[in-house]
């Protein structure tokens, strides 16, 4: 029993981080109806960013994540202007191909520079023992950091002028233009925020899991499952979707082999799409 409880809590902690990654994916979809297929590689860049900054300057990894966040924002804005902007009004296939190209470029360059051998950030915060349960310090901190990020995103979207612009452009881009909102710049900002969230999630994961430049793929798939769970386009739903997925990942291995985890995840994915395509927590219509 204690073992299951420990797994559930462990999964929950991880779920917050998954949630942040999925928030990035779903924010971009919600604002501009673009499925960002470079989401995974950007998560991986977040991991490498923390790894490199930590290695080169011996900075605290959490400080490194702040830098990675800024770089993630800038990278996303650049990707938007170079690859996404020109196809933003084209059929979905064009935006899929555009972001997939970015995906291939990052993975190609990343493999050339870093090879495919696993890295890890040599950093530990010890562990936390609560009665029968032992939790890794880095995971506890990552969960709190993820909560902070989610809260900050919420405040940004609902309490600031630019957040209001983002919601307005998501709701009706033409109307936003008529109100004086430079909608293209707002789309660039939204894409940047989406990649920033992906990079932050990657950075947090790097503090407790080893990774390669290809590691983002798995988290990209999780982000899709979570996005659909929480309702694609609904960043707050994505956080809850992340928690559900995290807990499932904690529990499943106590009943069946770990290799079954993705099978169950995708069964869930298909099931949600069939019975509740708007997600558990609703989303944009």
């Amino acid at each position: 029993m204690d073992f299951i409880l420990a797994s559930v809590i462990d999964g929950l902690l991880l779920g917050f981080v998954y949630g942040v990654a999925a928030m990035g994916l779903t924010l971009i979809w919600g604002v501009m109806n673009v499925i960002n297929l470079s989401h995974g590689p950007i998560i991986a860049l977040g991991m490498f960013g923390v790894y490199l900054i930590f290695g080169a300057f011996s900075l605290n990894p959490y400080v490194a994540i702040l830098i990675v966040a800024v770089l993630g924002l800038v990278l996303g804005v650049a990707i938007y202007y170079v690859a996404v902007q020109r196809v933003i009004n084209a059929p979905h296939l064009s935006t899929l191909l555009a972001t997939f190209s970015v995906n291939m470029i990052i993975i190609g360059l990343g493999t050339a520079i870093f090879s495919a051998s696993p890295r890890n950030v040599e950093f530990s915060l010890g562990s936390l023992t609560l009665g029968p349960i032992t939790l890794l310090g880095t995971r506890v901190v990552a969960a709190f950091a993820a909560m902070l990020v989610a809260g900050a995103l919420y405040l940004f979207l609902y309490r600031t002028r630019y957040g209001r612009y983002i919601r307005a452009v998501a709701n009706n881009r033409d109307a936003a233009e008529l109100m004086g909102v430079p909608s293209n710049r707002i789309l660039a900002l939204s894409f940047g925020l989406g990649t920033m969230l992906a990079a932050i999630a990657g950075g947090l994961i790097a503090t407790f899991f080893p990774f390669t430049i290809l590691a983002g793929g798995a988290y990209e798939l999780k982000s899709f499952v979570i996005g659909v769970l929480g309702g694609l386009g609904n960043p707050i739903g994505a956080l809850f979707g992340g928690l559900i997925l995290g807990v499932l990942e904690g529990i499943i291995p106590t009943f069946m082999p770990t290799t079954w985890v993705p099978v169950v995840e995708f069964l869930l994915f298909v099931l949600i799409l069939l019975v509740r395509p708007q997600g558990l927590f609703g989303a944009k219509s």
């Binding site: 307005a168 033409d174 109307a175 233009e177 008529l178 109100m179 004086g180 909102v181």
Partner: protein, 236 residues
Amino acid sequence: MAVLEIRNVTSGYGEVQILWGVDISLEEGKLTSLVGANGAGKTTTMRTVMGLLKPWGGSIWFNGQDVSKLPANAMAEMGVVLVPEGRQLFTDMSVEENLIMGASPKRARDLVDTNLERVYTMFPRLKERRVQKSGTLSGGEQQMLAVARGIMANPIVLMIDELSLGLAPVLVLDLFETLRELKQTGLTMMLVEQNVQMALAVSDNAYVLAQGKVELQGPSRELARNEHVRSAYLGL
């Protein structure tokens, strides 16, 4: 003096030309009606002025400045505001958030509170429903919100496309009353309105648009007496 001048503007969609050299000038503090059959190009004219469509030829002048190439958001920043056909509300946002979005241009930001009070006095219904999602408002309430949101932008020129489409007669009277109030504040306006009789009664000047060209123009009072206008647009 003309605040906004449309000079020999041609425009259209894709390959299809709709406007064939339109000249319109909006005089300061005056309400100008744009009259014409369905498909005459009234909406196209307003969209082209606003920068939602690029003019193919001709030019658009605002306060002596060539604004032909400016996008819609820049026009709004300058004080040219469109209340579009079909309302185009932010349906996921509350009534008040829609109004605050209306005040996005820099020139309107500091006046949010004053203007909120102003539009809530004009439309008490909106005040009662300020937290309701705009998508769930009735048609009439949505139209009030669309007009109110335009006022929130603190416009110098306000263009309204289809003021009363689909509204109950009482509400139409209310909205025309609002137009009169706005005129008294010195606002320059351009109005497209299905009810031509009322439009001509409330406006100072009018233009009749047919097949993308200005067919007739003049003081509204004179056009209301014009034989052609009476038979073609007033059904008299």
